[in-house]
Amino acid sequence: MELPTQTFRVTRADLVRYAGASGDFNPIHWSDRFATKVGLPGVIAHGMFTMALVGRAVTAWAGVPDAVVDFGARFTRPVVVPDDDQGTEIEVAAVVKEVTEDGLTRLDVTATCLGEKVLSQARATIRTPR
């Protein structure tokens, strides 16, 4: 079963806010000068910010904010966030892989930016929505 795709817009302001809230002040997430110096195309989103957005999507599918039992992902491709008002967009989709008898649902999640997968092996286990 496929779950409805959710889309999240990501701007530079979001990255600054996330840096402050998470304590991750790595300059690749706010300085183009630094990001390009280390070989990136520009400022990129924190992998954990992308994962947090996926967490929102999973939580929304679960229907309650405390249903996530297990959540993991591999960061495969950077999410480049241009310095403009539009920023970029991350699309999050999922399929239900398994519903267990003990009340858990396993999801395989896909997160894409500009048509490219930015996470791989993204999986979440949630308590099965009632």
């Binding site: 809230a21 998470s22 929102r56 960061f75």
Partner: protein, 148 residues
């Protein structure tokens, strides 16, 4: 630079307790756009059976990233932080983090490998409350990129 595989299995001393504040959870939830009332309103959280506001699923990284400095800054291991990128992340929850938790982290190095000039380091952080009860186990893999 390669990472010394003999560090696999090493466990570091427990970190000083991290006090999970209600405002910190609200700030984190706002930063990721998580608007569910249980992240912001203690009454809404209590209605779900929690003692105070509930942290979003990836919130524990705030605590474990700070705790992992023990490993990243271990001079004997010698990780060059300027060359580190995040590879994998996983959380296995016993329960969600809630405001009022005092969290202690115990870091263990689970895996080290060196391939293609890059070093790969997987750590497990067992996050427990003040009573020593498990809250969440967190795995993080970092890649220390080799010199190009």
């Amino acid at each position: 630079m390669s990472l010394d595989p003999s560090f696999v299995g090493r466990t570091y001393p427990p970190t000083a307790p991290y006090q999970v504040g209600r405002e910190k959870i609200r700030e984190f939830a706002a930063a990721i756009g998580a608007t569910d009332p249980a992240h912001h309103d203690p009454e809404a959280a209590r209605a779900l059976g929690h003692p105070d506001v509930v942290a979003p699923p990836t919130f524990p990284v705030v605590v474990t990233m700070a705790a992992s400095r023990q490993i990243i800054e271990d001079p004997a291991l010698g990780v060059d932080y300027s060359r580190v990128v995040h590879g994998d992340q996983r959380f296995a929850y016993t329960r969600p983090v809630v405001a009022g938790d005092e969290l202690v982290c115990v870091n263990t190095i689970e895996e080290i490998s060196n391939r293609g000039g890059h070093g790969f380091l997987t750590t497990r952080t067992d996050v427990r409350n003040a009573a020593g009860e498990p809250v969440v186990a967190v795995w993080s893999k970092i890649v220390v990129r080799g010199e190009a």
